[in-house]
């Protein structure tokens, strides 16, 4: 599966659609097998959305995101983990362990960042989230080395 993280330097971008770059990570068996950079500086939002669906991205990790973009992504079959704050690498690690939820503050050991979502936000079933799926697969591989 492919996961995109919109970036602000080493951090998760505070606002999707206005960040100059993203990282696309391919995950197999709970491990990162490859990663590439996607430069989105100067691209319009429909362009970015199209890039993501053309790159066959399954999940997006981002900070703030408006309703329009969120709905567009979900309708293209992309799971969105919004309002994530802090280091992008840490966010990805949390995702791999199935512990990334909206509003995760990656600087504070994954504590929930103050924030919420309006009525338009359909909270997905996080237990069925792709991140969770990877975590379970990883646990299988680790054959009971302890739950991360």
């Amino acid at each position: 599966m492919k996961v995109a993280v919109s970036l602000f330097g080493p951090l998760v971008s505070p606002r999707f659609g206005y960040s100059p770059e993203m990282i696309l990570v391919t995950i197999e068996g709970g491990e990162v097998v490859s990663q590439e950079r996607l430069y989105t500086g100067g691209l319009s939002i429909p362009h970015i959305l199209n890039h993501l669906s053309a790159s066959k991205v399954d999940a997006l990790i981002c900070g703030g995101i408006d309703e329009f973009c969120y709905r567009q992504l979900v309708s293209r079959g992309i799971s969105v983990v919004p309002d994530v704050v802090g280091d992008a690498e840490t966010a990805l690690q949390f995702f791999l362990r199935g512990r990334l939820r909206p509003r995760t503050d990656c600087r504070r050991k994954g504590k929930r960042f103050c924030g919420g979502r309006g009525s338009w936000f359909d909270e997905p079933n996080w237990d069925a989230h792709p991140g969770k799926f990877i975590a379970e697969r990883k646990d299988d591989h680790d054959s009971g080395k302890g739950n991360l």
Binding site: G63, Y70, G116, G118, W120
Partner: protein, 445 residues
């Protein structure tokens, strides 16, 4: 006043102002957050303090064009910059911001201060006024057009070929432009070709271009409109007037996205979206074999049918308003609108030239009008004469269909002894429709 009291006093002042105020230190962390800032962003002071301002505001300018950073770096203030942020609930909020450098008592820079104002209410009111019935450059409150407005973004995004059918002057080109502007091709060219305005071989060279030496005067290569529209949209107006020979060539472009320029031997590939328009009924043309059916099906992937202005009379006042506004700007005049008589004339007139005719009428009236309001006498005289004739014709009921309708109503009324409700039921029409028709045909019941 003691220092503590002074601090408390300033806090009270800043909490009382209606504008949001916050400050940051040199690391970009929030050090002060007033009550209005809490209300606008949804974050409490406790939540915001110590966080980077971009994590709280999530503005469209945070990453590429941070106003506060610019001010801190250059020392220059920014005043009333409109931006948008995402509030705690995930809702996009338009705000206007002003920034300044924050200095201590010795003049040393210790960070920045930003004040901001919620523009949601103002923006909503503006939107309601301007955009309720506006889409791109099109104005309408007619339900058919409103339905088209609803699906237009999806049509635009789909990249499919679009066929727009509607009488002349009904706004086909405006819709084609709106489709282009809403599509991902919007930064590429929008090229218009009127297929009815040029003779056949000229149109062919215009569309596909020619190679040097293709004919006597072809001294160098000339790219056609398809080549110019590469990556963008080509708008083929009056497609129903295209000759069968050219229809075949166009069909090939639609099928394979390739063509050969006049006199050329190599095939040219082109990435272009085709929007075609016609005021003719293509189905009838297909039946009479004047238009290729395979081309018709290729064009008719997405179809938009535009109604004539008589079927959207509710838009006349909106359109008049729009045109008066536009010509005021163009001519430097300041007319307030049209008189009551003019408006009621417009409501009865059948506008064979549709919206374009209405626009021309207003333009004519702008030249003739010396006062503040457009009067009946400012309208083109032949228009008033022609419409008087039409109205007379209606009174005399000398059109066969209408005569037959009037006769049926008369008979049904007689049968039901003048009872209009029963008559309406028998004829299967509404009571008010019956009343209108009785009045129109001058039937005495």
């Amino acid at each position: 006043m003691k220092e503590d009291e002074q601090y408390h006093f300033f806090n009270v002042i800043l909490d009382s102002v209606a504008d949001g105020v916050f400050t940051i230190n040199e690391k970009g962390e929030i050090t002060f957050f007033n009550r209005a800032a809490e209300q606008i962003t949804g974050f409490t002071k406790e939540e915001a303090l110590g966080h980077n301002c971009f994590d709280i505001f999530r503005a469209n300018i945070c990453q590429t064009n941070c106003a506060l950073k610019q001010t801190v770096n250059t020392g220059k203030e920014i005043i009333n910059l409109p931006i948008n942020i995402i509030n705690k609930d995930g809702k996009e909020i338009p705000i206007s911001i002003s920034t300044a450098v924050l200095r201590d008592e010795n003049g040393k820079m210790i960070g920045g201060v930003e004040t901001f104002r919620d523009l949601s209410t103002i923006e909503e009111l503006k939107k309601e006024l301007r955009q309720q019935y506006t889409f791109q450059d099109i104005v309408s409150k007619n339900h058919t057009i409103q339905e088209i407005f609803q699906i237009l973004p999806d049509i635009a995004e789909s990249n499919s070929t679009v066929l727009i059918q509607g009488p002349s002057g009904s706004g086909k080109e405006l819709f084609a432009k709106a489709i282009h502007n809403l599509s991902l091709r919007k930064d590429n060219p929008f090229i218009k070709v009127n297929c009815g305005a040029l003779p056949d071989n000229l149109l062919e060279s215009e569309l596909f271009g020619y190679i040097k030496g293709a004919f006597t005067d072809a001294k160098k290569d000339k790219p056609g409109r398809f080549a110019l529209a590469d990556g963008g949209t080509i708008f083929l107006d009056e497609i129903g007037d295209m000759s069968p020979a050219l229809q075949v060539k166009l069909l090939r472009v639609l099928q394979d996205r390739e063509y050969e320029p006049l006199g050329g031997t190599s095939t040219v590939k082109v990435d272009v979206r085709i929007v075609a328009a016609t005021n003719k009924d293509l189905v009838t043309l297909v039946q009479s074999r004047q238009f290729r059916d395979d081309l018709y099906y290729r064009l008719n992937v997405m179809k938009i049918d535009l109604p004539p202005l008589v079927r959207r009379r509710e838009d006349i006042s909106l359109l008049v308003e729009r045109f008066v506004e536009r010509f005021n700007l163009k001519t430097g005049k300041n007319l307030s609108g049209v008189s009551h008589e003019v408006m009621s004339f417009f409501m009865r007139y059948d506008f064979p030239g549709n919206v374009r005719e209405l626009e021309n009428i207003i333009e004519h009236a702008f030249v003739m009008c010396k006062g503040d309001v457009i009067e009946l006498r400012n309208l083109p005289s032949e228009l008033i004469e022609r419409s008087n004739e039409t109205l007379l014709e209606e009174k005399e009921v000398d059109r066969p269909l209408q005569r037959a309708e009037a006769e049926s109503i008369r008979k049904a009324l007689e049968k039901n002894r003048g009872n209009r409700l029963r008559t309406a039921r028998e004829l299967g029409i509404d009571r008010t429709t019956l009343w209108r028709k009785i009045k129109r045909y001058g039937i005495v019941s």
